[in-house]
Symmetry: C2
Subunit: 257 residues, 2 copies
């Protein structure tokens, strides 16, 4: 089969990981655009493809245009695209699909739900891709594309994706902040953060066997006032005290529903 | 070498996992005590040892007595022990070692930091054991005991252990609550919780490569007011709104320190 031709608009963490993965799965990445010449060139060299930092130079020869830029930059960029060829998709959790409607006919969303980082390899096989398109044929096409890389492809509306993105903030950003507070607590008392790593690994592993609502343990679920009082006394930072109180209350209330 | 003889006082999750593991590492569990006959018998059958539900019947023939009971039950139990033989230790994060001082001469703490559950196997090799004892020879002894099971044995004072236990509430209980809120958000919008599992797995895996303070991403760290406002609007539950605001603020403040 002829390879699908793809242009990446954006060269950040997600664009980098996704484009390199697509290259391994019968996609031909033909061009990378980034406003930052250095970013565009760096990614293009990895992909062995063309690059540009001029919007006007974005080629019209691709089947698929993947916009992977900051949420705030997207609309301006769409308005300045030099043509209306191919299928346009973005990779953002919180932007509705119809952001494309004023600019092009064939459009959709191609959203891999994962936290990407420069230093860690990503196993795309297990990453859920949430897809959506304006035309049913394009939804089918995006599903085929995603299935080349992942075993988990889910059709989700823009509305569902908004909640998904919100949920991801809790599951990823906020839980990581809990790890950061825990790290500070042990480190300021002469113990290494590494001592907490097995607990964190097991906490996350547990929810592959049981729902987190069922996995909840600790003083908060039984609202053990004795431990909760002692713990809030130990916390010197007022913000951490308040977080402790509020989350303990929330865990207790949650468990009763 | 002659096996060290151990009595378990308590038959909960931790006592069950720990006693079964110790049995595999040259310890002879000679008796299990629990106030609940059923619990005592069930664990004793697994260990193929004696059991009792009468405090007065706890044997004085052991080298080590491991108290693994509810924090609130410990002191009363110590006061009613029928003898003062052997080394007495507890397995609790938040109880100071000197809880034993009024009752016995040789005492200490043997605290494996992990979340234990009935349905999941536990790999003790990676679990950090935090140990402490009144006499230096007993600290050495507890270190030897812990090293039979784990590669990670750390001497920690009661003061350090208090902060460790507090940190564990953040790292385990509170992060799990973040997963539970995330689950509810997707489930009430027609998506399965399983779609979040790869993200959660990667979130926890990431902090084995980088410190959580460095791993922090998301709208809160740059205090993206646009996303934060939209997200708090989406959250119908007032408690979740407040948690979102407070944690976003805390992440932002934390990143500046």
């Amino acid at each position: 089969m002829e390879k699908s031709k793809v242009v990446f608009i954006g060269a950040g963490n997600l664009a980098t990981r996704l484009s390199l993965e697509m290259k391994e799965h019968e996609f031909e990445i033909i061009q990378v655009f980034s406003r930052t010449e250095e970013s565009a060139r760096t990614l293009a060299e990895k992909l062995e493809c063309d690059w540009t930092d001029q919007i006007s130079q974005i080629t019209d020869k691709a089947d698929l245009y993947i916009f992977s830029v900051k949420d705030t930059a997207l609309e301006d960029l769409l308005a300045r695209m030099p043509h209306k060829q191919g299928l346009w998709v973005h990779t953002a959790g919180s932007i509705p699909m119809d952001v494309f409607a004023p600019f092009v006919q064939r459009y959709g969303v191609f959203y891999p739900l994962q936290t990407f980082s420069k230093i860690r390899e990503t196993d795309f096989k297990v990453i859920p891709f949430f897809i959506e398109a304006h035309f049913p044929e394009d939804t089918d096409l995006l599903e085929q594309y995603a299935r080349r890389m992942s075993d988990s492809v889910i059709r989700a509306s823009s509305e569902q994706r908004r909640y998904l993105h919100l949920a991801a903030v809790f599951a990823n950003n906020f839980s990581n902040h809990m790890f950061a507070i825990a790290a500070r607590l042990v480190e300021t008392h002469g113990l290494p953060f590494e001592a907490l790593q097995p607990l964190i690994t097991e906490t996350a592993a547990k929810i592959t066997d049981m729902h987190p609502a069922a996995a909840q343990t600790g003083p908060a679920i039984r609202y053990d006032e004795n431990v909760i009082r002692k713990h809030t006394e130990l916390l010197e930072e007022p913000a951490f005290k308040e977080i402790y109180r509020m989350l303990s209350q929330s865990i207790h209330d949650f468990s009763k529903k």
